[in-house]
Symmetry: C2
Subunit: 141 residues, 2 copies
DNA sequence: CTTGAACCTGTAGTTACTACAGGGAGTACA
DNA sequence: TGTACTCCCTGTAGTAACTACAGGTTCAAG
């Protein structure tokens, strides 16, 4: 490991695009392992650390939660993970993403519907307000 | 206002389906106005209060944020709101819901894609892990 | 040798709640 | 009248996933 491959937190933040504080946060919660330090306490990140942060950031972009990423990383760390375990975790996450899309799509339809019934303009009668007060058409309760 | 129309917090929670503590929370942050109290300090909610909570809960179900609900309620409270203002607020919210759906749909495609490339089973090679480490096919960086 | 950037630590703020601890009030029953 | 039990009161802490700040070292350049 040559010295040039080892970088400090600011440089890691710049290279990875991750917020400086977030890197420390990931260490605090155990996603990143505590890196080596200089004599005066500055963190030194190896290429391995950098790859691990990349893993975390890509996982985050895919919407994995911290807990899911911990599971994924502990599988990787165990060195005897199976592809099947990883796929199960991914498919569970995929299912929750699909559930969220379904929820939001229902919401979208309702909102578009209620907005379409609204004429806009300067009048004080508003079907949206009526809906929210439960006195619109098709109101339940 | 007859006494039977005025209810306490527990009853309001039961009738509205809202969590007991959430009612107090909505008062603390200014969504619900502080209700009348008995001599000993118990809150008494009028039908007007009950309608306002209903408004808030329906708005919440439509995905409006607390801040958006505050805006909506202050329009209603002003008694000279226009339908146009309400519709603008709704359409902004609708746009953000659509943006979320678009984000999640992209996510869903990527996840489905990467999961499909995964054979599962007991092997230690996994395209999902490879992707997360940035060494899968089509990896950027 | 001094300035300024970068680093260190712990802690507080964000959203929208939910839950709990520790106490006072209201009501039913013996 | 006592007491048991539920309800209500308050303030505070916890959740997810960060982000930001204050107050204090350390490093690197001129």
């Amino acid at each position: 490991m040559t010295a040039s491959q080892v970088i400090k937190r600011g440089e890691l933040a710049r290279r990875s695009g991750c917020n400086l504080e977030t890197i420390r946060y990931y260490e605090n919660i155990g996603l990143l392992q505590p890196p080596e330090r200089t004599a005066s306490g500055h963190r030194l990140y190896t290429p391995g650390d950098q790859a691990r942060l990349g893993f975390i950031l890509r996982g985050r972009d895919l919407g994995f939660s911290i807990e899911e990423l911990k599971s994924l990383l502990s599988l990787v760390d165990s060195h005897h993970y199976s592809c099947g375990e990883v796929r199960d975790l991914t498919n569970n996450h995929l299912a929750s993403v699909r559930a969220k899309i379904a929820d939001l799509t229902r919401l979208e339809r309702t909102l578009a519907d209620v907005s379409a019934r609204c004429e806009g303009g300067d009048v004080p009668e508003c079907p949206i307000i009526d809906t929210l007060f439960g006195r619109g058409p098709g109101a339940r309760s």
